[in-house]
């Protein structure tokens, strides 16, 4: 079936998909780093932030692939 979206919209959706995991990880890691500086728990919260960011990115990709499949 033909994808009714314009090339620009298709490109934008792939662009967002490709950046979702790196950006989620960067945000999670950054938040963990900031909290580590505040509470002196270095590097525990950085690791937790990294993992939470990675999970959030993966969930977003899976949700989008499921949306496309439906």
């Amino acid at each position: 079936m033909r994808d009714p979206r314009s090339p620009l919209m298709k490109g934008a959706s792939y662009w967002i998909l490709a950046w979702s995991v790196p950006i989620s990880i960067a945000l999670g890691y950054g938040a963990g780093w900031w909290l580590d500086q505040r509470f002196g728990t270095d590097p525990l919260l950085q690791i937790i932030g990294f993992l939470l960011g990675a999970i959030a990115g993966l969930v977003q990709i899976l949700q989008q692939t499921d949306d496309n499949a439906d």
Partner: protein, 140 residues
């Protein structure tokens, strides 16, 4: 025939982008070696991550009854890909002291190639061909 042309175009895009990335890396190497290292690391990480992403997209975007792999397997592949990419980024940026900005530029290059290939490449042509086939059968 059309698929062959699309495959060839896709290979040409890949070859051209690999060549351009190589030239950029050599140019950066002469200017700032750490930026070149970051850029090359970003291209390699991006190519690996986005290659698996495309693999998953082409498997997961089919109707569930036609799906050849269960969703948990896709999740495992994604997780492995992510761990490898994180390891490459860690080694390039923190261990080898490569430039983070160069790494982001390299990853961006890989993303641009992905977008061009997915929008104008074989997947798009295959969808158009499928639509043309539907039109032809409707006309009959």
């Amino acid at each position: 025939m059309r698929t062959d042309r699309a495959d060839r175009a896709s290979r040409n895009v890949l070859a051209a982008s690999a060549g351009v990335s190589g030239v950029i890396t050599v140019g950066l190497l002469l200017w700032r070696p750490t930026v070149a290292l970051g850029y090359a690391g970003g291209v390699v990480t991006g190519a690996g991550m986005l290659g698996v992403l495309v693999f998953i997209l082409t498997r997961a975007t089919v109707p569930s009854e036609e799906r050849t792999a269960p969703i948990w397997l896709l999740l495992v592949v994604q997780t492995m890909k992510l761990l490898v990419a994180a390891a490459v980024a860690f080694v390039v940026i923190l261990v080898w002291d490569g430039s983070a900005a160069g790494f982001a530029a390299g990853y961006t290059t890989a993303v641009i190639v992905l977008v061009v290939m997915r929008v104008y490449g074989p997947a798009s042509s295959a969808a158009d061909r499928s639509h043309s086939d539907e039109d032809a059968s409707d006309a009959e």
